[in-house]
């Protein structure tokens, strides 16, 4: 396998323009001869499908939800970044680029990040034109807020529902193309494999989730926009059905998987309340603007929070990071919470929680101001916990939230399988080892609206329109493999539910490959995962048949893939003998417990090549070069 990032030459600010000019085009009359499959209709997939259809390509789009409007992107709360500099506070494309590279702890590809910052401004224009109701000032112009890791206000938002509004915008563009007949939409349809013809991705095999019918679709190129794999931890802030299957099966067909160990743990989520817990709810990062985080000084202090006097409280973030305090970046805040809980000072029934206290802010600003700022979040918190955060401090704990790792792509967003493109959270491209808040929405829409429409033309122009039939032998062979796997899952008829395996895997991953990792733990995980996988294939119980809506069967396929993928994650975490961004190896830290990067040895993208189930994948390295940003140690003290 050869990794060629295809980064255009020339100064960073001119690379994308130059590349756009140099890429081949497909002339307007010929576009209708080409077809493309888009898997996923989140921000990345819906924007890509709509934009390519507008250009004239024939698009088939797939999602497993009952409607494209329900993709997980809908749940994003806080906002979307763009270098508009509407606030006149010194923002620029270069500053957004710089913040993103630094926030990613110098483990992302400069050229991609710069392009992202460049196109960010057009995204906002596009969304406004679609009728996205962003927040506005009294003068009628767009409002901004600030977010972690930046010193300017560049985040656009629509109340606490930014993801919803952006997705509904992309969905409306997609719906228009469906209505015009340029996109054929297949909801409740799950992609279970990608089909290669002469080494190029030329189709997919899917299962109709209502009828169980397994079928192939052919096209001239395949685009995956299938989201992240945060649910490998079982509990996460992701929607229940988010999974790694599409990306993982592409990996098994030869697409390299990059940096799988870079997983973001968000510091402010509602803690687990019991065994039955099915997901964790995010409480927006913005709460840390006014809330103060603390735990009791003594592990034996079991008093109710309001009975603990100031002197017996430890505001540990303020103590350790006096200049950023409660607004320290996500990775740092999460680890600090884990640390105090490991010391036995965690709060709540489980001891896995810290307080987020608004008493000071309420005293200073009054309850009304706090209600105005965070009312909907406080209501949501109360709905879930039955505690009133105006009266008692919130309890929060870190949870799996976002995955920076993903399928490796070059500058054109093409994977190591020619003709297979990967967009959005499913690729690895822009966030390095840690993503800044409000940058995932930006990346998904950048990839879909403004990158893939150009780069796919370049591929088409070179590869030509093939007009393949989905009845060819490559398709049939792949279908047979998919059917065989389903048959196997349904025939085991063991004793344990699919969820019980997923929960157990999640616990292994959280304990050994979560917020902090070390060699011994990772080796333990690498021993436990194959054992659990073996048990799964012997003892899982999936009832019902293939020929009907069968959610246990769907889930079983996804968990089976997580059970293989988890090993790749641990291998990656083991290989990376340094701490960077969200990847914290306990062996590599400074005297005061901060992440210690090793730029000499690890300034590379780790791209893993599949070598068989249970066999260690092969590591390929894409060296990262920093020509525009100087490598430095992040400090938030």
């Amino acid at each position: 396998m050869k990794l060629d990032a295809k980064i255009p030459s020339g100064p960073i600010a001119e690379k994308w323009s130059k590349h756009k000019f140099e890429m081949k085009l497909v002339n307007p009359a010929n576009k209708r001869k080409y077809s493309v499959i888009v898997v996923g209709t989140g921000l990345a997939g819906a924007s890509a499908a709509a934009s390519m259809a507008e250009l004239g390509y024939n698009v088939k789009a797939f999602c497993f939800q009952d409607s494209p409007r329900r993709a997980h992107s809908i749940a994003a709360q806080g906002g979307i970044n763009a270098a508009k500099n509407y606030q006149n506070d010194g923002d620029s494309v270069f500053r957004l680029f710089y913040d993103t590279v630094k926030g990613g702890d110098f483990r992302s590809r400069e050229a991609n990040v710069h392009r992202l910052a460049e196109v960010s401004t057009a995204i906002i224009d596009q969304c406004v034109a679609q009728g996205v109701p962003f927040a506005r000032e009294y003068g009628g112009l767009l409002a901004n807020r600030s977010f972690g890791g930046a010193q300017v206000s560049r985040t656009f938002y629509a109340r606490g529902q930014t993801g919803q509004q952006l997705l509904l915008g992309a969905y409306s563009a997609l719906s228009r193309q469906i209505g015009l007949g340029k996109v054929q939409m297949y909801p409740r349809t799950e992609m279970l494999d990608v089909v290669l013809v002469d080494g190029h991705a030329k189709g997919i095999v899917v299962r109709n989730l209502v009828t169980g019918e397994v079928k192939s679709y052919a096209a001239d190129a395949v685009v995956l926009a299938t989201g992240g794999y945060g649910n490998v931890f079982y509990l996460s802030t992701n929607a229940m059905a988010c999974n790694v299957t599409a990306a993982y099966r592409a990996y098994k067909r030869g697409a390299a998987f990059a940096n799988p160990c870079y997983t973001q743990i968000h510091p402010t989520c509602i803690p687990v309340s019991g065994e039955y817990q099915s997901k964790l709810t995010l409480m927006s990062e913005s709460l840390r603007n006014d809330g103060r985080i603390w735990v009791p000084k003594s592990a034996d202090d079991k008093r109710a929070p309001n009975d603990i006097p100031e002197a017996d409280r430890d505001y540990y973030l303020e103590r350790k990071y006096p200049s950023f305090g409660n607004l320290a970046p996500r990775d740092i805040s999460s680890r600090a919470a884990k640390e105090v809980c490991d010391e036995g000072r965690g709060v709540g029934d489980t001891g896995l929680g810290v307080y987020l206290d608004f008493a000071d802010a309420i005293n200073r600003l009054g309850e009304d101001t706090i209600r105005e700022r965070y009312g909907n979040l406080f209501d949501m918190y109360e709905r879930i916990t039955a505690d009133n955060p105006y009266k008692v401090p919130m309890r929060i704990f870190p949870a799996s939230h976002y995955t920076m790792g993903g399928l490796w792509v070059d500058y054109n967003l093409e994977s190591t399988i020619p003709g297979l493109f990967v967009l959005g959270e499913a690729n690895f491209s822009d966030h390095g080892a840690n993503r800044l808040g409000a940058s995932a929405l930006m990346q998904g829409l950048a990839d879909g609206y403004f990158v893939i429409p150009y780069t796919i033309a370049n591929y088409f122009a070179a590869a030509g329109a093939k007009n393949l039939s989905p009845d060819g032998k490559d398709f049939k062979r792949t279908e047979d493999e998919v059917n065989e796997r389903t048959r196997k899952l349904l025939s085991i008829n063991g004793k344990r539910s699919v969820d019980s395996f997923h929960r157990e895997l999640g616990k292994i991953m959280w304990d050994y490959c979560g917020m902090a990792r070390n060699r011994k733990g990772l080796e333990t995980a690498l021993q436990k995962i194959p054992e659990l996988r073996e048990q799964f294939w012997q003892d899982v119980r999936v009832l019902g048949t293939n020929e009907e809506l069968n959610m246990s069967l769907e889930n079983a396929g996804r968990v089976a893939d997580f059970l293989e993928f988890a090993e790749v994650m641990c291998e990656d975490a083991l290989d990376r003998e340094e701490s960077c961004g969200a990847h914290f190896r306990e062996e590599y830290q400074t005297e005061d417990g901060e992440a210690l990067r090793n730029d000499k040895k690890y300034t590379y993208v780790a791209a893993w090549e599949y070598k068989g189930v249970g066999t260690k994948p092969e590591l390929h390295k894409e060296p990262l070069e920093f020509e525009n940003v100087k490598l430095a140690t992040r400090s938030y003290k």
Binding site: S51, E54, Q65, D66, S67, P68, R69, R70, H72, I74, A75, Y86, A122, D125, Q126, V128, A129, Q130, G131, P133, F134, A135, R136, Y138, G140, L141, A158, R159, Q161, Q164, Q165, S172, A173, S175, R176, G179, V210, A239, M240, A241, S273, G274, Y276, S278, T281, M380, R383, I384, F450, P453, K495, S497, D499, R541, L543, G544, E548, L549, M551, S552
Partner: protein, 248 residues
């Protein structure tokens, strides 16, 4: 707490369907309603009984996937709350809970509690958009929008497309859903160009899908988990009238 569940089971679209009774034991008050069903399903699977199928995804009240009519009310009796955000502390030990699918001619049952809401997508495809292509758009601040209108548009745009409004309405009317989208665009300058065409196309598709008419019962507003106001229906009716008096 222990509960008795009466659950609608229906093998597929052709099956007649019936209520079945299950016991839910040792339910914690901290569980969400769907987590309670997860627990019951694990027990059913152990007994070799096909688990109860229901739609869900985000479990945060935003994706609009979850549904269920709980004790006669879409999303249950808790105000402004989706089923996934409903917690068991609102029930008591010994309760009987009746769980049925969203019912409407335009929402056929697929299995158990899962219904087909694709009619909503087809209404959007008919006109729920602004016809702009990607690229070549003037600067986002080129057209200022008064905060009042932006907020009004956002109130309407908050709809999650769950279909509770239809399930609550004795006429199975989709007017709250359609009105929300029509109002959102009617409040924004971007929506003006296609104003007449949009409302005509969306209403025509709504009728073609078999949704009923609004007879001002306001059940839709009462059950809407996002508290979309029936004002949007009035707005849609005005837009429709206005369109009727203009040539296309």
């Amino acid at each position: 707490m222990n509960l008795t569940l009466h659950v609608w089971r229906q093998k597929n679209a052709h099956d007649k369907g019936r209520m079945e009774v299950y016991q839910a034991r040792d339910i914690s008050e901290h569980m969400s309603f769907l987590e309670m069903l997860d627990v019951v399903n694990e027990q059913l699977v152990e007994q070799g009984i096909d688990p109860i199928h229901f739609d869900h995804d985000c479990r945060e009240g935003i994706c609009g996937t979850c549904s269920l009519v709980i004790n006669g009310a879409p999303h249950g009796h808790q105000k402004a709350t989706t089923t996934c955000q409903l917690h068991m502390r609102h029930f008591s030990d010994g309760d009987h809970i009746y769980i049925e699918p969203f019912r409407a001619k335009a929402f056929p049952v697929i299995k158990d509690l899962v219904v087909d809401r694709s009619a909503f997508d087809r209404i959007m495809q008919a006109g729920g958009f602004v016809s702009v292509n990607t690229g070549g758009i003037p600067d986002a601040n080129a057209i200022p929008i008064p905060k009042y209108f932006a907020e009004k548009a956002m109130d309407a745009a908050a709809c999650i497309g769950c279909g509770a409004c239809v399930a609550a309405c004795k006429n199975a009317s989709a007017m709250l859903f359609v009105g929300a989208k029509v109002s959102q665009f009617a409040h924004l300058p971007q929506g003006q160009v296609e104003r007449e065409r949009r409302v005509r196309a969306m209403v025509a598709q709504m009728d073609a899908e078999g949704f009923g008419n609004c007879t001002n019962q306001y059940e839709c507003e009462a059950v809407c988990p996002k508290e979309i106001s029936v004002e949007v229906i009035a707005k849609m009716n005005r837009e429709y009238l206005r369109a009727a008096t203009k040539k296309s």
